[in-house]
């Protein structure tokens, strides 16, 4: 069973991400958080295998949440899913050691790639 935590301040976006990923992943369970702070708490309590995190969020920005997550677990597997695709933002986030950076909106093609990525690394 793969545990996936989706951190996004939009419930709509949470649902879209879930339904897209559901198509390409078996045996996976989801949990959700509405902001960076809540995401951090869920991460500590639930120990998900993957975190999919938005950047622009209230309370704690995605960037800052990832920093904290990486402090407590340097091997944490983080996927960024964001509409802020400025290249310096991307560079900043990639320097934090994330698996990949996906531009919103999520579509079928991107979801399939994510499914492959998660499927592979969870088997490996």
């Amino acid at each position: 069973m793969t545990k996936l935590l989706i951190v996004d301040d939009s419930k709509f976006s949470q649902k879209i991400t879930r339904s897209f990923l559901d198509r390409y992943l078996d045996d996976v369970t989801f949990d959700f958080a509405d902001d960076g702070q809540a995401g951090l708490e869920k991460f500590d309590a639930w120990h998900p295998d993957y975190i999919i995190v938005d950047l622009l969020m209230p309370k704690l920005r995605g960037q800052d949440m990832i920093k904290q997550v990486k402090l407590s677990d340097p091997d944490a597997r983080v996927i960024v899913l964001s509409a802020d695709v400025q290249h310096h933002v991307r560079e900043e986030v990639e320097s934090l050691g994330v698996l990949t950076f996906v531009n919103k909106p999520l579509d079928d093609k991107k979801a399939r790639e994510l499914g492959t990525l998660i499927g592979k690394s969870s088997r490996g």
Partner: protein, 209 residues
């Protein structure tokens, strides 16, 4: 159709993506980092929309705004206006053009070059937002280049058509370019049935969402 809270969440997310893309394009063009705040879309009836908009105009823009606007009128009907407080625009334009901005120098007037700069920025923002919306719901939207205007003593009536079948979507848009904050707003005046069509389409496309 989704309930009110949901529809505002959906529109927020859709426009969020558009604004992110607009910031990306603008940042590429001017070669500067742009920090965004979290935009939030309110969907209001015209009366409430007018009230909220008048408040913004009085407080943030102190009456004078620079407006880029476009109309669209096929399957979806409406008008999008991108508002920026005029007093900040000289500074904003200078940042975009890599010029030093001198508060004392030059007039408060906008030159044709300033207008063209704002036309491009308006084009970028509106293209990204409406483009994203149009992609997400697979409804083509047709429009022209934005018209640019500077309005003294602007009030909500400039941007909002009143009528029972009308809705007003207001989204505050805060850019921060190298420490200069620009508090803009996007006002979308839309036919009620256009919003319904968008939400219906989303329900269809993301069935079970």
């Amino acid at each position: 159709m989704a309930d009110k809270l949901n529809s505002s969440d959906i529109m927020t997310e859709l426009f969020n993506i558009g604004v992110g893309q607009a910031a990306n394009t603008l940042s590429d063009i001017i070669g500067k980092r742009i920090d965004l705040s979290i935009p939030n879309v309110s969907i209001l009836n015209p009366e409430k929309g007018k009230h909220v908009l008048d408040q913004y105009l009085a407080q943030v823009a102190e009456g004078t705004v620079m407006v880029s606007s476009i109309s669209f009128d096929q399957q979806l009907e409406g008008r999008v206006s991108l508002l920026f407080p005029a007093d900040k625009m000289h500074q904003f334009i200078a940042l975009c053009l890599h010029e030093t901005w001198d508060e004392e120098a030059v007039t408060k007037e906008f030159t044709d070059i300033d207008y063209d700069t704002i036309r491009e920025i308006g084009n970028i923002v509106i293209n990204s937002m409406i483009g994203e919306l149009s992609n997400a719901v697979s409804i083509p939207v047709k429009y022209t280049l934005p018209e640019i205007d500077v309005l003294d003593h602007a009030c909500a009536d400039h941007f909002v058509v009143f009528g029972d079948s009308q809705l007003v979507l207001i989204m505050y848009l805060d850019f921060d370019i190298e420490g200069t904050e620009i508090a803009g707003a996007i006002v979308i005046n839309m036919a009620l049935n256009s919003l319904e069509e968008i939400l219906d389409q989303i329900n269809k496309l993301y069935n079970g969402v």
